[in-house]
């Protein structure tokens, strides 16, 4: 259907619906008067009534008060004034100027989800003509999702003035979403369906699917169904990509958890049961760093992770160093006994953390650059996961370089292959041992920084990853960093493709069975060391 005709139809329909155009804008005093009614609104329905009134007033001046209400900042003073409490400051809800100080306790104007939803709708109606395109865009999006017929005329008005093409098309979609239900002219509805179906994302699907369930006109319903099917098929395609991404991101988490172990266990042959606790220490270091920053340098929060990385490396590395010097070094040549000793260490570390930090989860926040998600087509990518993938690759690259390209790496490998001979070659084996173990532990520590962003920081953190870590290292092939990378990614991706079909529990079982069977095929892991040397 040619665009022009569609537009004409829509405009016509809008006119036909003939909502009364909003009159002159209310002034600040008027808005203030309405806002002050929050003071007496102690029940939810009363709050809703005030919001409705603000919406009806149609003045963007009401937006700050509404936003504050949404954020739980709108307070009622004992003297009946309504103020915004932001940090330590008290503001007038309309003018946003500093308000007179208040005697006694403030009382919050209560909200709940349905009220927040309502606020969102009202704000979007009020901000459709805001100067910033981004805000207009959000407003249009909100209206699209709510398809609130009450916003139609505001939308029309805004649409008429809109200059930004992107915003404009969003607004058209929003209008279509409203008209789809509000209009009873099949032609208008058909046109709306086309616009919505072209949008093609999950929200569009929601709107169309809702309508398809309740449409009165059979033709229109068929068209809606068609639209739904169309969107679903594109979404299904994106779904595959999404699964791969999930798999990669899960894989990189597994990889990160395991990579330290690939050194302490894979390279050195120490069955390091305390590996998980090294990860945990890294996570707790992040917590301490953030706590310090929160208390002393709130501005630096965005950098908290960058500060935590080296510190976590140091903390875990140091603990590893102490462990190696104190215990492990007595056990070279008795690799199995390291299991017993490190198990003991892990118990102690766990309980120590529990004693120091308490048994509960500790809050580690995500800096802004680690929060939220963005879309690639219909694929949503969360920032935290993306950074973790990037981070994992960096760690891998650095480690690969260190192990294969530096003299220290060579010495590490030599020492672990034949300690006695390495010593006879003049390599300071105790030093190299300690350093290798510290490196492995330190890497585990920085993995902890990453994990603190997606998992809970509790004394049990280590335990949840230790088994997976061993699986990854062994699956990839002990002693091979590439194996750990590919192993982690493979398990991640396989897991994510199994999960939708088998469910998370069965999926996990299947993964384990898969590992067992795979090891039958390749008894030395994915990247098996080959040749006479390994027999």
């Amino acid at each position: 259907m040619p665009l022009l005709r569609r537009l004409v139809l829509l405009t016509f329909a809008a006119l036909a619906l003939a909502f009364p155009a909003t009159g002159a804008r209310a002034d600040a005093a008027e808005i203030s008067a309405i806002v002050d009614r929050f003071a007496t609104a102690s029940k939810f329905p009363q709050v809703e009534a005030v919001i409705e009134a603000l919406g009806a007033a149609g003045d963007p001046l009401a937006v700050p008060a509404l936003r504050a209400l949404e954020a739980g900042e709108l307070q009622v003073a004992p003297d009946g004034r309504v103020v915004i409490e932001r940090g330590d400051a008290l503001l007038d809800p309309v003018t946003l100027e500093a308000a007179a100080p208040v005697e006694g306790r403030l009382k919050k104007v209560r909200t709940k989800n349905s009220i927040r939803r309502m606020i969102g709708d009202v704000i979007s109606g009020l901000t459709l003509r805001a100067p910033e395109p981004a805000i207009r865009m959000t407003a249009a999006e909100t209206i699209f999702a709510s398809a609130d017929a009450a916003q139609l005329d505001a939308l029309e008005a805004a649409l008429a003035e809109e200059t930004d093409a992107g915003v404009k098309s969003r607004m058209e979609e929003a209008r279509a979403a409203i008209l789809l239900t509000a209009s009873d002219d099949p032609a208008v509805q058909m046109a709306a369906i086309d616009i919505i179906a072209d949008r093609g994302d999950q929200q569009a699907l929601a709107v169309l699917a809702t309508y398809a369930n309740q449409a009165s006109n059979a033709d229109v319903q068929a068209a809606a169904r068609e639209g739904v099917a169309e969107i679903e098929s594109t979404l299904a395609m994106w779904q595959a990509g999404q699964n791969i991404w999930y798999g990669v991101s899960l894989g990189s988490v597994l990889f990160l958890a395991a990579i330290g172990l690939a050194i302490t266990f894979g390279v050195m042959g120490v069955i390091n049961m305390a590996h998980g606790e090294m990860v945990m220490l890294g996570a707790y270091t992040t917590f301490v760093v953030q706590e310090t920053i929160r208390n002393s340098f709130p501005g630096a929060f965005e950098f908290s992770l960058l500060i935590a990385l080296p510190l976590a490396f140091l903390v875990s590395g140091l603990v590893g160093l102490v462990m190696e010097r104190g215990i492990i070094r007595h056990l070279y040549g008795r690799p199995l006994e390291t299991l017993l000793a490190t198990w003991g260490v892990s118990l102690i570390l766990q309980q120590a953390v529990r004693t120091i930090f308490g048994p509960n989860n500790r809050e580690v926040g995500n800096p802004d650059w680690m929060s939220g998600a963005f879309m690639i087509g219909e694929m949503s990518v969360t920032w935290s996961r993306l950074w973790i993938v990037v981070f994992a690759l960096c760690v891998f690259g650095a480690l690969l370089f260190a192990m294969n390209r530096t003299p220290l790496g060579l010495q590490m490998r030599a020492v672990t292959q034949n300690r006695r001979m390495a010593s006879a070659m003049g390599i300071r084996t105790p030093w190299v041992d300690a350093l290798t173990f510290a490196l492995g532990s330190g890497i585990a520590g920085i993995a902890g920084v990453a994990l603190s962003q997606i998992d809970n920081v509790s004394p049990n953190l280590g335990r949840t990853y230790i088994i997976d870590s061993f699986m990854v290292v062994v699956f990839g092939g002990v002693g091979n960093l590439w194996g750990t990378l590919v192993g982690g990614l493979t398990l991640g991706v396989v897991n994510k493709f199994l999960e939708p079909y088998a469910g998370a529990v069965l999926g996990k079982i299947l993964i384990l069975v898969f590992i067992i069977l795979f090891i039958q095929r390749r008894p030395r892991g994915l990247f098996a060391l080959k040749g006479r040397a390994v027999e």
């Binding site: 939810f44 739980g72 209560r110 709940k112 989800n113 349905s114 927040r116 939803r117 969102g120 999950q202 929200q203 699907l205 929601a206 709107v207 169309l208 699917a209 809702t210 309508y211 398809a212 369930n213 999404q242 699964n243 999930y246 991101s249 899960l250 988490v253 766990q350 529990r354 308490g358 048994p359 509960n360 989860n361 809050e363 926040g365 995500n366 929060s371 939220g372 998600a373 949503s380 969360t382 935290s384 996961r385 962003q453 997606i454 998992d455 809970n456 920081v457 509790s458 004394p459 049990n460 335990r463 949840t464 897991n495 994510k496 999960e499 939708p500 469910g503 998370a504 529990v505 996990k508």
Partner: protein, 402 residues
Amino acid sequence: QETIKVGILHSLSGTMAISETTLKDVMLMLIEEQNKKGGVLGKQLEAVVVDPASDWPLFAEKARELIAGNDVSAVFGCWTSVSRKSVLPVFEELNSILFYPVQYEGEESQRNVFYTGAAPNQQAIPAVDYLMNEEGVERWVLAGTDYVYPRTTNKILEAYLKAKGVAEEDIMINYTPFGHSDWQTIVSDIKAFGAAGKKTAVVSTINGDANVPFYKELGNQGVAATDIPVVAFSVGEEELAGLDTEPLIGHLAAWNYFMSADTDANAEFIEAWKAFAGEDRVTNDPMEAHYIGFNMWVKAVEAAGTTDPDAVIDSLIGVAVPNLTGGYSAMMPNHHITKPVLVGEIQGDGQFETVWETPGLVAGDAWSDHLPESAPLISDWRAPMSCGNFNTETGKCGGQGS
């Protein structure tokens, strides 16, 4: 001087330490306060703390040790159902008293156990009612950890929802393993499920540690409470303390107590707790359950004039003590208690704001009316019935007597 010993059977290490350690602390605090008030029956109370280490058979061993080895008069303990199941035979055999403070799946009523946490009808059903009536939810995701409590609760909810006319395809049930930490797929499935055009909500029986990554993922993928609210039965103030709740504002939890409850008793309790355990500590529902349970026990012992288990068990029924939300909770003949049901929304400060509550107290129902086999069962431990699973259809006390 002779003391009355009270056993505390909560894991201080292992996976459950995260939840249970607080309960041990609150018990110590309650006992200390009671002692300040002069103890019970003129004797001081003495807490006997052991660590069953999240190891279920060890719970049984430690229970035996407490009762037989330390002669405790009552035990306050357990969190998971399996730990309770593990100690049940011990309490029955050695005839002692257990106060169990956690919401659970019901389907049990045992003479020696007093359930001060919520039964499903005191938490799950009202929460669903709220979502259905107040939020207009039509489509349901029942997400849980794969074990008995979620399974049973979801069975009950499923039956309940279907009875309310919710269609099969509008219910999605999803189970995850313990400690599940990668929620990407499930959260995006929930989003997709919620995009079908009907108002959707998630009823979460996800347990323990798995909640934090779940909520983080919800936040990151932008599942806002205004779109798809999540109502949880195992997420309380303690769990939120480990989270940045800013992105989670508006998601819900159903409990019988919130720390934010605006009563004098609560303010006093919180103050005492902070003084005892630390300024940054929070309170939560199971703590209140222990508060209630402990006070009931004290009252019952005083009434019976002895700590003899049989006498105390009998005198406990009917005891009513103030709860922290401004009412009185009473011990019912089925060894469950009456409680208000609150639905709260998560706030930015990690607290819940009550947005709804039952008009009155709800009595805990040991046997769900929504499961066919348990519907005819009732429990009444008073003489002459003295039965935890009386079948009203056959008129017999199932299992026990035959």
